[in-house]
Amino acid sequence: MRLTLEFGGGLELLCNSVKIHEVNVDPEAEGNKLTMKNLLSWVRTNLIKERPEMFMKGDTVRPGVLVLVNDCDWELSGQLETVLEEKDVVVFISTLHGG
């Protein structure tokens, strides 16, 4: 499944400072569905190069990270259970505090 993944607010530093990643992720066996939960563990294994604790806590993202699926907060689509589709755009953004 082809997806566009974007990292921002400093999270890109965890993946070689690259913000936009065009990726191809194979859905897990069960029902050929790819959920956000599957995607997070794929990202952790394949894209995060350092300090994984800055990206994840337990099986979800760490506090202070917003996850957007097609420009919409994943809270509105079922968080970890969100089912992804071909060409979806998933954004991981760390909230900023500076001023």
Binding site: G8, P63, L66, D73, L76, H97, G99
Partner: protein, 466 residues
């Protein structure tokens, strides 16, 4: 050193003293001029010449539009000409009051626009003073105000633009002890602060007092903006119920920020405040604007609504004024409210030396290796001569380089072992590096307390700081 015309010896310190005293006098005169200018403007004239129709007392309020005086109609004419803004929204602005917390990178443009556009009353909260390294982004302040209160500086600039707006100066840090009292008097709050505990505290205070919150943030080359606690929308805690780990909270003083980026977000904060105050358009509630300066991308995303589970504004939340006052935001976020940098105490005293001691070692020509563990782009700004740059992040990979350098020194002077010193910007990363070096067998490694900042402070005042 030079002779002046009287033959007396003049030193650089004398000249600096005189410049500083003249600058103080200049700032005072400028203050006085802007106050007089404001008084002059209240006569309704910009060129200072007398015109009876303008210097006459303002006409009865209902004479023209039913609301605005002749001066106001002229001053705000371009707003009044907008069909979707017009007299009604301008009248709403004139009646409204906005509190801007933070007169820094975000607050600077926000305050300038809020004063210019005719918000009735603008409050400014900050307890900081203007510094030279603020001026690239905090455009409300000028060189004449370096060393003086940001609130005074910002207030003078606002009054200079619009003397008809009431500017209220709050020269204090925003704390739970004064937050309610300060915020209560205002209709709308702009969060232009730079740290996590302040953001939770301001949001909670807005929930307790029922004020809409225009929240902006900027760091590096990115910015974020949203409106909280507006019209049933979410508050900061709905989005971020748990504070982020402290390691995820970067500061402009450490990570840098391109000056215009907070400028853009601050302008957008003024815009959202004007929309809420004027009761026009669709404020950015339930949505968040994400700005990426390098790729010139602005994206507006839909965020969650008010959370029924929220501890501040949810269905079962019982956040009272008393509970707000007693809440420890520094403990909750594990971050101090003041922005002073961390002072780590990781190493025992025997593993540390002062910058003065290092200077002596250097002067005596004792063989040693000096490792600078700052990131490469910091090292490029300024470094001590003969230091070796091995950033903390790649220390392990740099071990062979360190061993080799020690060997070379040893070959040159067989009698003694070379010492190993580690320096960074402020003396935190150098301790982490020494700790790491000790574990890898370099047991003689010592860090220089206070880093390059203490070198500049205690040894070489001409050494640049940043």
């Amino acid at each position: 050193m030079a002779m002046d015309s009287n033959g007396a010896v003049e030193t650089a310190a004398d000249v600096r003293r005189e410049i500083s005293s003249l600058e103080k006098a200049k700032a005072q005169i400028e203050d006085r001029i802007s106050a007089l200018q404001a008084r002059l403007n209240s006569y309704g004239l910009e060129d200072g010449s007398e015109k009876t129709n303008c210097s006459a007392p303002p006409p009865a309020e209902d004479l023209f539009s039913g609301k605005l005086s002749a001066d106001m109609i002229y001053r705000y004419s371009r707003h009044l000409l907008l069909p979707s803004f017009g007299v009604d929204a301008q009248a709403n602005l004139l009646k409204s009051s906005v509190l801007v917390i933070g007169a820094g990178g975000l607050g600077s443009p926000a305050l300038l626009y809020l004063a210019a556009c005719g918000v009735g009353s603008v409050g400014i909260v900050d307890n900081d003073v203007v510094e030279l390294n603020n001026l690239h982004r905090q455009i409300i302040h000028s060189e004449a105000y370096i060393g003086r209160s940001k609130v005074e500086s910002a207030a003078a600039a606002c009054r200079g633009i619009n003397s008809t707006v009431q500017i209220v100066e709050h020269k204090e840090a925003f704390r739970t002890s004064n937050a309610l009292e300060i915020m209560r008097k205002y209709d709308i709050v702009v969060d232009a602060t730079d740290n996590v505990p302040s953001r939770y505290m301001i949001s909670d205070c807005c929930v307790v007092l029922g004020k809409p919150l225009i929240s902006g943030a900027a760091l590096g080359l990115e910015g974020q903006l949203t409106v909280y606690n507006y019209n049933g929308g979410p508050c900061y805690r709905c989005l971020f119920p748990t504070p982020p780990p402290t390691t995820a909270c970067q500061r402009c003083a450490d990570s840098g920020v391109l000056g215009v980026v907070p400028g853009i977000i601050g302008c957008l904060q003024a815009l959202e405040a004007i929309k809420v105050a004027g009761a026009v358009g669709e404020p950015l509630s339930g949505r968040m604007l994400l700005f990426d300066a390098l790729s010139a991308r602005i994206r507006v995303v839909k965020i969650r609504g008010r959370s029924s589970q929220c501890e501040a504004c949810g269905e079962n939340a019982t956040l009272t004024e008393q509970q707000f006052c007693n809440f420890d935001y520094e403990k909750f976020t594990q971050t101090p409210l003041s922005t002073s940098p961390l002072k780590l105490q990781l190493l025992p005293p025997e593993a540390r030396i002062t910058s003065k001691e290092y200077n002596e070692i250097n002067k005596k020509g004792e063989p040693h290796i000096l490792i600078d563990v700052r990131p490469a782009h910091h090292y490029k700004i300024i470094s001590l001569p003969n230091s070796l740059n091995i950033p903390l992040g790649s220390l392990e990979g740099g071990l062979p380089e360190i061993s080799a350098a020690l060997e070379v020194n040893k070959a040159g002077d067989n009698s003694r072992d070379s010492s190993l010193y580690v320096i960074c910007r402020r003396g935190n990363d150098s301790q982490r590096a020494v700790d790491c070096l000790h574990k890898m067998g370099f047991t003689s490694a010592k860090d220089i307390i206070g880093g390059l900042e203490s070198w500049a402070h205690d040894v070489d005042p001409k050494f640049p700081t940043y």
